[in-house]
């Protein structure tokens, strides 16, 4: 077991050359502890959406790794993310999920913090501390970096991490496919109120891998395909464009992000969708047209699922959602799910989508229920002494990746695997674990931001 040997991840546990990954990285408690340090304390994580805290004093308690954090808007409207722990004895200063507060007061000894994190109230400051406590040094711990992007709020604990937009790199336009409105208007989405939170007994990387573009597990959703919840009355989704589009796995080796997307042909109208409701059907038809006009070739790109390294997933098509896979020990994951709709959509469209989302996603969702069963027992059956000796197989489609992929004059950013004929690949999954291993080995950000460039230079020679 190479868990304490940080140089061993790529060589020993994550062997992408052979397409094999050790089960240890999913079930080993020591590796998990290292992940908390090397991944969750350094990477950019999704903490929420600005629309959850529209007014000064609004707060939403979120999570980063195993840590509870407070996302809040101060009196000057500035957004902050604080560690949810009193500096005096560590008590959670906020045990609510959301609300509005003038100050965050610890119920234990009464230390009180303003919404910009400053320690403003210390009981018996004069009497017991004789006025000598340096309150300016004892404010709430605040994340090192914060970025607001089209409503979403991201944060990192590591001051040395690259800024969020650099962290995303050319993956950004794919995130836009979730955060822009369906008609292509910039950031034209909003969050539906109500964040689903639930626990799944599996390592956090099972869902992360699944949302990185595991198209191979479609078969496990056969029962919902048969029962039919698709917006046009059958199947799981409206996917008629599948028949005409290129289906692509797109990975960013330097960053660890990846997505499954569809690239529609030029000059072909999309087949009708949402036929169970004429209002919804008409709305999406109009949006399609508007997007094509506004976005040109990018208007032909529709994202299905994707993952921002390490644990933020998006589903860009309906049900449009953002998910965070919060680790809760090596053997449990807490899923948080935000649901998105176009802000300017008519109420009837929003209603229709909301009901469809609930039916599809989350613990009550007829599709995801089966995912959770698989993650649960895949994890459980991989924990044993013998089971750990047998690596998982990630060979699918090795050697079929394409740099500079282009179709009908659109050059697709990222390294692509074309699934139109292949149906499936594990290209994106390999990308996730490649980056994972790099994070687990690298001691400094320089290694994480320059390593790939060096690698490419070597390849070029």
């Amino acid at each position: 077991m190479a868990s304490t040997n940080t140089t061993g991840y790529r060589r020993g546990l994550v062997d992408l050359g052979k397409g094999q990954i050790s089960r240890e990285i999913f079930v080993n408690d020591e590796i998990y502890q290292e992940e908390l340090e090397r991944i969750f304390a350094r990477a950019w994580l999704l903490v929420g959406h600005e629309s959850q805290i529209p007014n000064p004093g609004d707060f939403f308690v979120s999570s980063m790794g195993e840590e509870s954090v407070i996302l809040c808007r101060d009196r000057a409207h500035k957004v902050h993310v604080f560690l949810n722990s009193c500096r005096h004895r560590g008590m959670k200063v906020c045990r609510y999920d959301e609300g509005n507060a003038a100050v965050l007061t610890c119920p234990y000894h009464g230390w009180s913090y303003s919404t910009d994190g400053r320690l403003v109230g210390v009981p018996y400051f004069r009497e017991a501390y004789h006025g000598s406590l340096d309150r300016s040094r004892w404010g709430l711990a605040e994340v090192a970096q914060l970025c607001l992007y089209k409503g979403t709020v991201w944060a990192s604990w590591d001051p040395a991490a690259p800024p969020f937009l650099e962290y995303l790199g050319d993956f950004l336009p794919y995130i836009d496919l979730t955060l822009d409105a369906w008609d292509g208007s910039d950031g034209g989405t909003e969050i539906l109120s109500g964040i689903q939170k639930w626990r799944v007994p599996c390592n956090w990387k099972f869902p992360a891998e699944n949302f990185s573009g595991d198209s191979y597990h479609n078969i496990s959703h056969r029962s919902v395909d048969l029962a039919g919840i698709g917006p046009s009355g059958s199947g799981r989704r409206d996917m008629p464009e599948l028949l005409m589009a290129r289906k692509l796995h797109i990975a960013f080796p330097e960053h660890g992000h990846q997505t499954t997307s569809y690239l529609l042909p030029k000059e072909v109208a999309l087949p009708p969708a949402y036929q169970h409701s004429s209002v919804v059907s008409e709305y999406f038809r109009e949006c399609e047209e508007a997007r094509r006009n506004k976005r040109g070739d990018w208007g032909r790109m529709i994202a299905l699922v994707g993952e921002v390294f390490p644990n933020t997933a998006f589903l860009a098509r309906q049900p449009r959602t953002l998910a965070a896979w919060h680790p809760r020990g090596a053997h449990e994951t807490e899923v948080w799910r935000w649901f998105l709709v176009d802000r300017n959509a008519p109420a009837e469209v929003k209603d229709f989508l909301r009901q469809y989302y609930i039916r599809y996603s989350g613990p009550g969702g007829m599709t995801e229920q089966d995912d959770m069963e698989n993650w649960n027992y895949a994890h459980a059956a991989s924990r044993g002494t013998i089971a750990r000796r047998y690596p998982y197989n990630y060979e699918q489609g090795t050697g079929t990746e394409i740099e500079n992929y282009e179709w009908e004059s659109f050059r697709v950013p990222g390294v692509v695997c074309d699934l139109t004929r292949a149906k499936s690949s594990e290209h994106n999954l390999r990308n996730l674990y490649r980056r994972w291993a790099e994070f687990m080995e690298a001691d400094r950000w320089e290694e994480l931001t320059s390593g790939r460039r060096l690698g490419r230079a070597e390849a070029a020679e």
């Binding site: 078969i219 056969r222 029962s223 395909d225 048969l226 059958s234 199947g235 008629p240 028949l243």
Partner: protein, 68 residues
């Protein structure tokens, strides 16, 4: 796209049409909802498959015909 089929319910002898146009007759059904054992009757892409018995994946079955 055609309606998905619950292949768990398909009896031996049932004829199915596969993606790509091949036809096959179900020989036995493990009832796992994922696979059936079938004998190829026609195979436009690969005539060598005619007469061979293979496991056929649920998602390749696009149409169910009559039981023979």
């Amino acid at each position: 796209m055609s309606e998905p089929v619950n292949i768990r319910l398909l009896q031996p002898g049932t004829r199915v049409v596969l993606e790509g146009g091949a036809t096959a007759e179900i020989v036995s059904n493990p009832q796992d909802g994922v696979w059936v054992f079938a004998r190829f009757l026609t195979s436009p892409d690969d005539p060598d498959r005619i007469g061979s018995e293979e496991m056929v994946f649920a998602q390749e079955i696009v149409e169910v015909g009559e039981a023979s």
